[in-house]
């Protein structure tokens, strides 16, 4: 039983005792503490855990550790060394060669990558360097897997084609979906490896409103640690004496907990604590707006979804915790299950919450509907359905509670709202908030899915009782079952228009499935409702939305925040209307587009920063340019003959050759050209910021240290989207220093001031501004101090290139810091930024302080026989006000398109009568690199006055129009209107064959 495992990991020989049940990833992560290898799914689906075993990439999560006996393993941590070691030998040879050559001639020596590696300045493999340089790194969680897979490819094939890169990375998933940049980075690294030249830089245009720092492309501050395996995410942390937690979940969708018996579990050796609802110290519920979500369901209480917690276990090992959880016995009195929001509103159905099944009836009223429809020449009505979706961030949730000797509690977690976590933990514990410190960690993606509390309260309770650190890590299964999703909706739209295309009236009725608990359901469905007439100037609007409780997993924030759903409905409707009116789809949108001076359907006058028309025009001309078609031909079906086919994803040139030859064969005989292409078009808008009258506040603090470095701090969340780069650039801009002179600290409730929730595309705007004004305040303080000291007017103090000039004196910032302190001033400034006031829905006035606009066009290819759909190209134009960091923006735009593509084509969170079918990543497919279309990003910059340098939000708008652009393209190609997501190839095929049979 005590086998030994001897293996070499990153050049170091290890001999370890074999353990039952151990996988290679466990051995690497927990025994060797090489935490660069990540676990995203633990089911061989995502590829994050890829390491090399004897030179071949393998998934380490299902690789038994004992199989690695005698083998050589390379992980992300070893890649830099691997490269250096390998090239050290080459470099020596090279040097010798060069020496000989030098003796013969005076040819200058080219500095090779190998030599650079040796110099010690560059401990990164060119792949690692290229990933940072090209912006392929966002949240960073999948990156070790991407780089290791790419490394294996380049070892075998030093000069891969784009298709070969894609084929190699086929199943290595990235949810930030920087696939195009990943591809570019790999090709750039391959080139550098071949030529010895430094990694070539990406070609990304600056902002048209470029300043000294903001508006230029910059690397992420956390880029290097995310490519060399040093980045620490919550599960990478280990504390002395730490326990492992497991939550016992109801696993039934609706019923009353009749009996709960934890006695057998308590007897299990190694179990340290078991808690039930009786042990909740103070408030029993948590929630973001409505406190309706029980920390645990107690005996006699109602279970509302499968993920409801009924008991908590803390044990010496995870294995024991799992065993104990299985030994807990529970009996339920099962109740009829409310499976959808329409059913939830019917008479006589069970009411899930005390106040009923209706969370909120949301209303939008503008103008006179009767008049609007009476004035219309054409009226159309249609109902659309969208399913539930999961965020599928690659890093599952993890929380660690650490009790401190002074009675305080630290919570380590990845959270989009650290201060809210603190509040919610404190409420349940019955503590003053100051007793809790939330220490936010790097996050492997969020997308709205890490706004609600998951394990934070549970670990606090367990750590408090056991007086030991407690870790609760969700596996993918638990993550899929428990956290809030994107709302499933039913949306009926009735639209009336004049013959000339002017929309006269828009009526919509929405049902949103907010699941068992409110989460942000009310806000999400409000956004869905207010945006349900599209980005158009419509005189008469009426919208009613019913956000309903059901027995499905809760639904809450998810990138797009309800607008993803309503945009699908309204943009499909726009194309249906265009066809009916015989007006080109682009033209119909031009006729109705919101512009400066328009009044939105909530009664807000748009006074500035409406770049919609420019987005429409730019996408329209880009479509013509890339396709060589005229505007009127874009939306017509084009049959793809086999000879003409430019196969964007063909792996084998040979196959293409075969296809050509086959023309003389059967297909030629049957003459059925069944591949058809067309373009589709869609527009959208999305608010920046909370809006609706909520005070939108962020705090930031900037400090100058003695060494001349700055630090900017805010608890706003960095989940991969690049806020830290924005904060750094903003401060660098205001202090006139290089960005590298600014460090960023985020997400710590003790050390960073409250930045508010990271949601609603708000952080660039609010925390960008808070950082900017904090820096300005500090600069003013420096100016005042130096003006006094040198007895000059403040205007004579100048800040240039990292140097402060005062009346002939030039000082570095290190010297400035000393001066300030000598004068009794602490060089630090805190700024509370409050965004322009907004008004609640229904009161008219400004419901939001800014809107971003986006237009996308998609070219699809539909197989008429099978119904299969391929998205070939997407053109995305986004009016973001100002591009603070064009590199980060590129990542957001491409990732947004891919998430939109997943929404349209691959994803559907399946449930069966309240039970979750999509309970593994294998049953919830997110887009991989093979599905990545050619993405063209067009940045439109209509600055908004209050935004930092004119910037407004981008995180969501770039994802919203993708789905309707794709489904409209499908209609244009084969005449099948997709009104239910995701696109179902079988339905498309069926509709075509039934039509042809007629």
């Amino acid at each position: 039983m005590t086998n030994q495992i001897s293996l070499t990991v990153n050049g170091i020989q290890h001999t370890l005792e074999a353990r039952a049940n151990e996988t290679l990833s466990d051995l690497l992560r927990y025994r060797l503490r090489l935490t660069g290898t990540k676990i995203g799914c633990d089911e061989a689906e995502c590829g994050a855990c890829t390491v090399l075993v004897d030179g071949e990439p393998v998934v380490s999560c299902i690789y038994p550790a004992e199989r690695a006996e005698g083998k050589t393993v390379v992980t992300i941590e070893g890649l830099g060394n691997e490269f250096t070691a390998k090239h050290a030998k080459n470099a020596k040879e090279l040097e010798k060669k060069e020496e000989r050559r030098k003796n013969l001639s005076d040819t200058s020596i080219k500095l090779s990558a190998s030599l650079r590696a040796l110099s010690g300045l560059n401990a990164l493999h060119p792949l690692q360097e290229a990933f940072v340089e090209h912006g392929a790194v966002q949240c960073g969680f999948c990156i070790p897997g991407q780089i290791m897979t790419a490394y294996a490819l380049l070892e075998r094939n030093p000069n891969p084609t784009r298709d070969e890169v894609r084929f190699a990375l086929k199943d290595t998933l990235c949810r930030c979906a920087g696939y195009p940049t990943i591809e570019n980075a790999i090709l750039a690294a391959a080139e550098s490896l071949r030529t010895g030249e430094p990694v070539r830089k990406p070609n990304i245009p600056d902002s048209i409103h470029v300043h000294q720092s903001v508006g230029h492309t910059h690397r992420r501050p956390d880029g290097i640690e995310k490519v060399n395996g040093q980045a620490i995410y919550t599960d990478d942390l280990v504390f002395d004496n730490m326990l492992f937690a497991k939550v016992k979940r109801a696993m039934i969708p609706h019923g009353f907990l009749k009996r709960l018996d934890v006695s057998k579990a308590k007897e299990l050796k190694g179990v340290v604590a078991i808690l039930t609802a009786e042990d909740i110290p103070a408030e029993r519920n948590h929630g973001l707006i409505v406190y309706d979500w029980p920390v645990m369901v107690g005996v006699g209480e109602r279970v509302r979804y499968v993920g409801d917690a009924i008991a908590l276990v803390a044990a010496e090992t995870l294995e024991i915790a799992n065993q104990a959880s299985a030994l807990i016995e529970a009996e339920f009195d099962l109740q009829p299950v409310i499976t959808n929001p329409v059913m939830a509103r019917e008479d006589g159905v069970p009411q899930i919450h005390e106040k009923g099944n209706l969370l909120k009836h949301i209303k939008v009223r503008k103008g006179d509907m009767e008049k609007g429809f009476a004035e219309s020449d054409v009226i159309l009505e249609h109902t659309f359905h969208t399913p539930t979706y999961d965020h599928a961030f690659i890093e599952p949730e993890c929380s660690i509670g650490v009790p401190l000797p002074d009675g305080r509690m630290e919570i380590y977690c990845g959270s989009q709202i650290p201060y809210q976590d603190r509040t919610q933990v404190a409420r349940v514990m019955g503590w003053d908030e100051s007793r809790v410190r939330v220490v936010g960690q790097l996050m492997g993606g969020g997308f709205g899915g890490k706004e609600d509390v998951m394990g934070q309260i549970h670990v606090a309770m367990l750590a408090d009782v056991t007086k030991r650190p407690v870790k609760l890590l969700f596996d993918r299964h638990e993550s899929l079952l428990v956290h809030p999703k994107r709302h499933a909706t039913q949306i009926r739209i009735k639209i009336g228009a004049k013959k000339d295309g002017r929309i006269m009236a828009s009526e919509s009725e929405l049902y949103g499935d907010t699941g068992a608990y409110a989460s942000l359901g009310e806000k999400v469905m409000t956004r869905a409702t207010t945006h349900s007439a599209g980005p158009y100037d419509v005189p008469n609007v009426r919208a009613d939305c019913y956000a309903m409780y059901t027995n499905n997993p809760p639904a809450g924030a998810f990138r797009g925040f309800g607008v993803t759903q309503s945009a699908f409905a309204v943009e499909s409707m726009m194309d249906m209307l265009a066809e009916k009116l015989n007006i080109e789809p682009v033209e119909l949108r031009r006729i109705n587009a919101l512009h400066v001076g328009s009044i939105t359907n909530t009664g807000q006058e748009l006074r500035e920063s409406v770049g919609l028309m420019e987005c429409i025009d730019k996408v329209s001309s880009a479509m013509c340019q890339v396709s060589g078609l005229s505007e009127k031909d874009l939306f017509k079906p084009r049959v793809v003959s086999d000879v003409d086919e430019v196969d964007l994803t063909a792996k084998h040139a040979k196959r293409k050759e075969e296809r050509r030859k086959n023309l003389s064969g059967l297909r030629g005989l049957s003459g059925s050209n069944y591949l058809v292409r067309a373009w589709g078009f869609a527009a959208a808008y999305k608010n920046t910021g909370l809006g609706g009258g909520a005070p939108d506040i962020s705090n930031a603090e900037v400090e100058l240290y003695d060494n001349g470095m700055f630090e900017v701090r805010s608890s706003s969340a960095e989940m991969g989207q690049g806020l830290v780069t924005v904060m750094r650039l903003t401060v660098a801009e205001e202090m006139s220093v290089p960005p590298e002179q600014v460090n960023v600290l985020v997400m710590d409730t003790d050390l960073t001031p409250n930045g508010g929730p990271t949601t609603a595309s708000r952080q660039t705007f609010v925390t960008g501004n808070a950082s900017r004004y904090a820096a300005k305040t500090l600069r003013d303080a420096i100016t005042a101090t130096l003006a006094e000291k040198y007895d000059v007017k403040p205007e004579q103090i100048r800040f240039e290139n990292g140097i402060v000039h005062a009346n002939g004196h030039s000082m570095t910032y290190a010297e400035v810091a000393k001066e300030m302190k000598a004068m009794g001033q602490h060089p630090r400034a805190l700024y509370e930024y409050e965004a322009p006031k907004t008004q609640p829905l229904g009161t008219g006035g400004d419901m939001h302080f800014a809107f971003s606009f986006g237009v996308q066009a998609a070219e699809v290819e539909v197989n008429k026989l099978t119904g299969e759909v391929r998205v070939l190209r997407v053109i995305s134009a986004n009016d973001v006000g100002m591009a603070v960091n064009p590199l980060g923006l590129q990542g957001q735009v491409e990732g947004g398109v891919m998430m939109g593509l997943g929404n349209a084509i691959t994803e559907e969170f399946l449930m069966d009568n309240g039970y979750v079918v999509s309970d593994r990543l294998a049953r919830y497919r997110i887009p991989g690199i093979m599905l990545t279309p050619e993405i063209t990003s067009i940045i439109v910059e209509h600055p908004t006055a209050a935004g930092p340098y004119g910037a407004k939000g981008v995180g969501e708008i770039c994802s919203i129009p993708t789905t309707p652009a794709i489904t409209n393209a499908i209609y244009n190609a084969v005449g099948v209107r997709v009104d239910k997501l995701p696109v179902d190839q079988e339905s498309i095929a069926r509709e075509i064959w039934e039509r042809e049979e007629k």
Binding site: G145, T149, S670, T866, E868, A922, A989, R990
Partner: protein, 315 residues
């Protein structure tokens, strides 16, 4: 849960059989484990005492020519199957099937034996092997008493049996391999002769489990513009991997034309039993799309058999 206690890594078949005979039970052989470990972890298979890892068994990791047969070890990774010059030359359909399975980090672990042993009616490797008329080589312990074993391995009588692949399958997920008593050592395929060729293709759907909704493989021999012999496999065309023998009969001895193809398609549709799989594909959808898939595959095989020379592959 402790999913396994003991992990044994035999280096030879004899050692593997010893482990089968003597190691604590319940016992399972493990090759790649890409499915098996998930079955254990996710509770579809109850925990075991012993896993016998066969990936280091020399006989099972070979690809070699034995007389007029190509032997592919059951523990060869599907990536190696896809890339090996011998398989590329003699079993093109199989390389195409293996090339499509998952990504490289899974293909490097998953094995051909595992793909077949799960007895799924539409496993890509299985369907290709079926069209290639492969035989499974099986080794086992004939005396069940030996399993309880007193550790005296010399007493064990071992035998190999050679089973036509189609006889390996009893029903969906059920094979005739005796669990814990037998092992698939490898597969035999007749060496490819001039004017013989094969092809494999599949149709997926982008949502849900990454299994094909339909796959098809054809092997054929072409002689004087006629189909001298042909084998057609379609998955899932029934409870077990399906050979469209009636369509084969239609085509044998005839040329490939639009009309012979359509007769063959009719025969295939008459013989196959397409099922509806919830959330994946309706039976009528499968019946509808099989025509295009079958046509593409047979056409490629037909063209390849005509000009079969050395083709350069991507790798």
């Amino acid at each position: 849960m402790t999913l396994w206690q003991q992990y044994i890594k035999p280096k030879t078949l004899a050692e593997a059989m010893d482990a089968f005979a003597t190691a604590p039970r319940p016992l399972l052989p493990i090759a790649g484990g890409t499915d098996l470990l998930l079955d254990l972890e996710q509770g579809r298979h109850s925990p075991v005492q012993t896993l016998v890892d066969v990936t280091a068994v020399a006989e099972m990791t070979l690809i070699e020519i034995r007389d007029d047969q190509l032997f592919i070890g059951a523990a060869v990774s599907v990536n190696r199957v896809a890339l090996d010059p011998l398989t590329v030359r003699h079993a093109e359909a199989l390389t195409e099937a293996c090339d499509l399975i998952a990504g490289p980090q899974v293909r490097n672990v998953a094995t051909l034996g595992g793909n077949v042993a799960h007895a799924l009616p539409a496993a890509d490797g299985t369907i290709a092997l079926l069209a290639l008329d492969s035989y499974a080589e099986i080794v086992g312990i004939d005396d069940p008493m030996a399993i309880l074993g007193n550790g005296d391995s010399a007493k064990l009588h071992r035998f190999h049996r050679l089973l036509p692949l189609k006889d390996l399958f009893l029903g969906p997920g059920k094979s005739s391999i005796k669990h814990g008593e037998e092992l698939i050592v490898g597969f035999q395929i007749s060496l490819s002769k001039p004017h013989q060729a094969s092809c494999f293709k599949r149709i997926m759907r982008p949502q849900g489990v990454a299994l094909p909704i339909l796959n098809c493989s054809v092997w054929l021999e072409r002689e004087n513009g006629l189909i001298k012999d042909i084998r057609i496999a379609v998955g899932p065309g029934g409870g077990t991997p399906f050979r469209a023998t009636q369509a084969e009969d239609v085509l044998r001895g005839r040329s490939l034309t639009k009309s012979t193809f359509e007769s063959a398609l009719d025969a295939l549709l008459a013989q196959a039993q397409f099922r509806t799989s919830a959330r994946r594909a309706g039976a009528d959808y499968r019946r509808h799309i099989v025509s295009g898939l079958f046509r593409d595959v047979i056409e490629s095989a037909w063209m390849r058999a005509e000009g079969k020379t050395t083709e350069t592959r991507r790798h």
